[in-house]
Subunit: 168 residues, 4 copies
């Protein structure tokens, strides 16, 4: 992966795959570390330490929803963890509203909320033809909705004193 | 309470106190119905039905955090329930970031996030002397912070196309 | 209720209905206090204190399942709370496998497990015609299964050094 | 590991490490698959499928506690999953009361409960000198307690019509 990608993502189910974390820590690529669905704040930061301890300082944390009893969405997006992380760590923290909600129609609301809560960025799933997506089609935005959402986030960012750049 | 108050609040621990709900349904005051800390979306709306069925149409729902394994804050604020409620109900939905976070320093971030997620209002705890509060002092804002937060929320509301009024 | 019943049950949804708890504390009947579905051990014992503080020493605690992400049964029966209660309280602790599982076919297994974990008793739902039950029919035992289960529990009780009496 | 061990254990944090599961599926050793701390019943059985699909039929499931809001023990032991698994799968299911409770003094009660719920076996941690254990010392039984507990489990097994063998 390291030779071809711009960034290494460690998925939620691998947040405590320690050999993988250590290997990513020996890379020079930034590491995007998703929170495990049952990981406490301390568990998550300790997983980041496995990467940092190997000498790679470029870790980005990403909240993507936790398991709770609540079933109205795929996972429960724990936005309160954003200011909690910022109180104890210097690492940037992103939010993934696509996996958390599992519903395309709710992604915009939660992306705006993430930014307003102080998140350093959001990760959004987009697909030109969601019905044909190999997975997670119901949560993928259409390209035109992505464009309008980025405009909304830019307007919001101006108010919460934060810039918005996009990457793909 | 009905003779002296402007609104009846049903606390989270009484969300399924059916005799209380029915009595509030026979009042002409608005009813502020907090979500129980382990209530699913459907449980909550069915509790609202007890009030509505008695003839009182003025029900306001209020998300105040649920119980999860996560311990970085007092409760886990489930902001994803805001668009979920709006997809199935006409009732207004508020958010209480004070009880959810339990930390004064995180109330502003979550109040902004609530508004950005589309909430119709927020409930904020404020105290002129939090150390002397009879309960919940650690989550109470000081009056001057309340004033600055309302200014932030008004600026944010202009962007998310929503007015902000204050009540006490 | 006090004039006609042998025991007062406080249901899970009323575990923190403080005026009800205080009134039960002024009764001479035993109080059967079910654990709220999101109540921690301390919350539960503090609710018992409301009864005890009014002078009624006859409180029986009853675990009936908590809310978790797990959906294979109606609630997650937290049998580990039985030895946890016994380490800090003198109050007897019962278990209700009927509400917890929600499935008639699993009630026997969890009743046996409760007894083996050290519970002082189990509460079992039974109905002569479960299809016609006004609620909770799927979890009700048929009378003949109740009889065979009591025999199983008696045999088990002899091994775990504990008697089994039945009440209706 | 395969060359030196009698059995391959997949820990809870690796329950969804799919490359590891597939490799274990190509082994001839039995695979002891612990339930992830936020895994639903279906997630768990699907992880077992990764092993089975590679041709290794010797999978043993092991419940070891899930994450819930409840803090009286390290994890919430979900014994109700035992009859739930047995209703849909032919695989044997074990229970690990040591990790679930985290307290040596509660291991016996939950081991008995597991057996009474119908578990096919229990996994018990034991240490001759728990204070010096490199990890998890507070949940390790002393050797003499292990011996007495096995006697208790044998007596119990006779009643629930199930044999008890020990392995180390």
């Amino acid at each position: 992966v390291e030779e071809h990608a711009d960034i290494i993502q460690i998925g939620a189910r691998n947040m405590q795959n320690y050999s993988l974390l250590r290997r990513a820590g020996r890379s020079r690529l930034p590491v995007f570390l998703k929170r495990g669905m049952s990981a406490g704040l301390e568990d998550w930061l300790l997983s980041a330490e496995y990467v940092l301890a190997e000498g790679n300082p470029h870790v980005i944390l990403c909240e993507r929803g936790i398991r709770s009893f609540s079933t109205h969405s795929r996972f429960t997006l724990d936005l309160g963890v954003v200011p909690a992380v910022q109180g104890v760590s210097h690492l940037p923290v992103f939010v993934d509203p696509s996996h958390a909600t599992g519903h395309r129609d709710r992604v915009g609301a939660m992306a705006r909320a993430a930014l307003a809560a102080g998140a350093d960025g959001v990760m959004l799933e987009v697909h030109a033809n969601p019905e044909r997506a190999r997975s997670d089609g119901t949560q993928a935005l259409l390209p035109e909705r992505l464009a309008s959402l980025v405009r909304e986030l830019r307007a919001l960012a101006a108010v919460v004193d934060r810039g918005v750049e996009t990457a793909r």
